[in-house]
């Protein structure tokens, strides 16, 4: 069981490495979206500081969602996903492995670059640290819930927009808690409760999402 997970993670990471440009494009998208807001709102530092956490989180959410199409789409197109459905190990295990690999390839870069963006909004150092930590705790549930949406919309026309419509309402709690965590730190309060809740959401998603993703994948192939 574990060597299959290791093999799937290694495979997906090699694929992501050989398509490095995809990883950079979603990172650059994240930076661009986050940088657009000040152009629309104005450079006034106090205002930017107030809305900074929310904007970085919304941008991270959108970048993470755009990367979801890379999760199953190419495997669906070339038939490898079919072989995963017919594998000797349970599909949920393979799904967890794929989501871990997807998280490393797509969301980890966002977590690493987010503090840099936080500087644009004048966030203090401790808020930047909490921003990275909150993103690290929150993005796993984004990937897991997003994987459900990606599996459900497999092979459908208009998949991208439909995926956003399915998944964004479910992202609301993570967005709220993540922004609250950073705002609390920026205001000098403790962010611990929000970080704990983010971790709880991710663990909850880790326990439920694989079942839903496997069911959705099997449905897409029936």
């Amino acid at each position: 069981m574990l060597n299959v997970m290791r093999a799937v993670i290694a495979r997906d990471l090699t694929l992501a490495w050989r398509r490095r440009s995809d990883v950079f494009t979603s990172m650059i998208f994240f930076v661009i979206v986050a940088s657009l807001f000040p152009l629309g709102i104005g450079p006034e530092p106090k205002l930017l500081l107030a809305i900074g956490p929310g904007i970085v989180w919304v941008a991270a959410l959108l970048a993470s969602m755009l990367a979801l199409s890379r999760l199953f789409a190419s495997d669906y197109a070339d038939g490898t996903l079919e072989q995963m459905l017919l594998a000797a190990t349970p599909l949920s295990v393979i799904v967890i492995a794929k989501v871990i690999a997807h998280w490393i390839a797509a969301n980890l870069p966002l977590v690493l670059i987010a503090p840099l963006l936080g500087l644009q909004f004048g966030l203090p150092a401790d808020a930047l640290a909490v921003l990275a930590l909150a993103l690290a705790l929150g993005t796993p549930s984004l990937s897991l819930i997003g994987a459900i949406g990606a599996a459900l919309t497999l092979g459908l026309r208009g998949g991208g927009v439909l995926l956003a419509l399915l998944v964004l309402p479910l992202y609301a709690p993570v967005l709220i808690l993540g922004s609250l965590a950073v705002e609390a730190t920026a205001a000098g309060l403790t962010a611990q409760p929000y970080l704990l809740l983010l971790a709880a959401l991710s663990l909850g998603a880790l326990s439920l999402a694989p079942w839903a993703v496997s069911a959705a994948l099997r449905i897409s192939y029936e």
């Binding site: 079919e82 017919l86 000797a88």
Partner: protein, 212 residues
């Protein structure tokens, strides 16, 4: 081994086939015949547990396949029209991955040997997108050389896009596998030499099951 009872499948308004029943035991070679669109691929997908039938049941060792799932898939190999190869991975990487997924991890040496047998020794390290259609099909089929412990092969048009040497090698593989007690279900439009070994034939156009 594999038992199919009154399998019926419809595509939207049209019924593809109705009440298909047969039993396939060790060393059985079943040929599924029928014109294009007669539901051959749908039947194979239902047999391997990917598709769902409107009615009827597929049993493996007496148990319905949706209740034995992973155990059935460990003992089965399905090769569809798609080659199931990642373009960015090399032929050998794809082959090793396929074997790991099937629950029978292969060593580098065995994989290279399987590819060599299919005449792919030279290009086994190239990314698959650099290969021709025939070479891709052969690297997909190379997996069969490493799946001899499996009890059931389900092959959809295995002989398509293959040159004479590859067809001969594939037939040799199938014959050896049948002699080893494995059972095979396949579809083809070419009249391959393997047809001498066919034990059963299903013609989906006439939905008749005939022992040969």
């Amino acid at each position: 081994m594999l038992e199919v009872i009154n399998l019926t499948s419809a595509r939207g308004e049209r019924t593809l086939f109705r009440n298909v029943s047969f039993k396939l035991d060790a060393s059985g070679l079943l040929h599924v015949a029928g014109t294009n669109g007669s539901g051959k691929t749908s039947l194979l997908r239902i047999l391997c547990g990917l598709g769902a039938a409107d009615a009827g049941e597929v049993r493996w060792r007496g148990e319905p396949i949706h209740s034995v799932r992973e155990a059935y898939w460990r003992e089965g190999v399905y090769l569809g029209h798609a080659n199931a190869l990642k373009d960015d991975l090399s032929a050998i990487e794809n082959l090793l991955m396929a074997c790991t997924l099937a629950g029978r991890p292969a060593s580098d040496g065995d994989a290279r040997e399987a590819l060599h047998a299919f005449g792919l020794a030279a290009c086994s390290h190239l990314p698959v997108r650099a290969l021709s259609q025939g070479q891709k099909r052969r690297s997909a089929l190379a997996r069969l050389a490493l799946s001899t412990q499996a009890r059931l092969w389900i092959l959809d048009e295995p002989f398509s896009a293959l040159d004479v040497a590859a067809v001969a090698h594939l037939e040799k593989l199938i014959v050896a596998y049948l002699d080893g007690g494995g059972s095979v279900i396949f579809t083809t439009h070419q009249d391959a030499a393997i047809s001498a070994r066919i034990t059963q034939r299903i013609d989906l156009d006439k939905a008749s099951v005939a022992a040969c």
